[in-house]
Symmetry: C2
Subunit: 329 residues, 2 copies
Amino acid sequence: MKKFMNRAETLVAESLAGFVAAHERLVAFGADRKFIRRRSLRPGKVALISGGGAGHEPMHVGFVGKGMLDAACTGHVFTSPTPDQIIAAIRETDGGEGCLLIVKNYDGDVMNFEMAAELAGAEHRIATVIVRDDVNPGGSKRSQGRRGVAGTLVVEKLLGAAAEAGWRLDELSALGEDLNGRIRTVGVSLRGVTVPDTERETFVLHENEMEMGVGIHGEPGRARVKFATADEIVETMLEAILSDLAPDQSDKLLLFINGFGGTPVSELYLAYNCARARLARLGVTVARSLVGTYVTSLDMAGLSVTVARLEERELSLWDAPADTAALRW
Amino acid sequence: MKKFMNRAETLVAESLAGFVAAHERLVAFGADRKFIRRRSLRPGKVALISGGGAGHEPMHVGFVGKGMLDAACTGHVFTSPTPDQIIAAIRETDGGEGCLLIVKNYDGDVMNFEMAAELAGAEHRIATVIVRDDVNPGGSKRSQGRRGVAGTLVVEKLLGAAAEAGWRLDELSALGEDLNGRIRTVGVSLRGVTVPDTERETFVLHENEMEMGVGIHGEPGRARVKFATADEIVETMLEAILSDLAPDQSDKLLLFINGFGGTPVSELYLAYNCARARLARLGVTVARSLVGTYVTSLDMAGLSVTVARLEERELSLWDAPADTAALRW
């Protein structure tokens, strides 16, 4: 295993230090470097806090900034941040309007964010949105039910814009819950990932295999299938999504192709092209698009397809300005 | 070799079609899909045209838009665009103020852009900047002298902003030449790349080896060395750059860490952190920073470090708005 690192014990801290130094206009470390926050907090808005294990960069630190998150807490690689980190972020960012915690549905994350919410609940108004966009309803050994994967970006963008526009905590929380039924993601991997601590690949695929339905922690997916053309792969993925999401021709869709870290951007655009053509044949409208490497699983070669059914209100929230390291428009 | 593709013969065309569809607000295909251009050309400015082989995405297509390029011509993987493509781009984008061709110093690119300039020269005013930012003065079998690598992004950003600000063709050309002496890049690779057509890795590295001084076409670098810590790797790279660039403490530096396609963003920030610390110890000032996957070599695991000595004028050009798929601020 060759990775750009000095020691496994310090790689997350060193990488975050580099991130803050590179984006000092946008972000700063919170107290004791327990989290990364917007450099300038805006009073009078609900604070949005997310986080999770390292290894998914640029999520979530790259989504901190105007129009998205107020703070992101990062744990060790594929390991939830501690309640202590989350509480510190709540204390520092709550300007009186309360805090919304956006949590991916993985057991460790859910447990630690819940504990933080409980411990800080006496002094702060807190609501939690648990993102569940994975098409796989059975979850995995790391989660009960659908996992929270690349659709988390969509939730954080929409709720971030809404918070910026002055929505109250209960309104944001309701939109978050509502979005859970309208965003679906499926991932495919061509290669396992190597976790820096263990130096082992999480699963090993043969030259003619791929893993369909993977999450973002190197856990195996729901089926190991034969490798195929991009058209065939994307068609299989869209089928799983659309049978769940059941959009009709009046729906406005967001189509998001996300790279897992080791996939060249040219292949992401090729996959986007396949998906776009397939959706056109089905007569549904792609109203917004995003293609890039945003929600990763270290250097995993693979990608996910996310489709969201958005109403006019959410299209406006999607289009609202964002000024973060990873998303900016 | 597993890649998201349908057929090797069509992968570039399919990927570009996806790119244009995903970014239709910004870009459009030029005549006969020979190049990608800004959706709205601005009359009264010099047209900036670049291009090269596919496999380096998001460069150059991701740099087409306001404040950067007017058109980008893409060849097949690691293969120069044809003179025919370049001439079509010149014809469609020259609004009367002439065209500046920005060419990476690789023999095939230089030859084809020169031929296009010659053939179109009777009807259009054309100047050419050949980017030579590689620290390796000897070049490789694909180039005479320093290659044009990640520093090309810096040249395209600065000249793009200058063109937007109304600089004339001769002024842009002079700045481009001047920048060649002030931008240096060195790349390191942990793994060879697999070219879709050949299905062979361009070079094979053992578990304890890395290739120092690589270009962006999978060609070997100037030395195969023992794998080391990120601190040691970055120090070696900066030494090569700084001995060439010789900045002093009054210089304002741009520090750009570029991923080659297969490197996680967390490792890029870690490398940035190492470089930033090293430069701080040397007492030189990092005035601007960029970290990301911009100038790639398919899915090569590796990164490059670029340092540019910028004067106040260039800092303003760097800060000027850009609205492209890959760079936006």
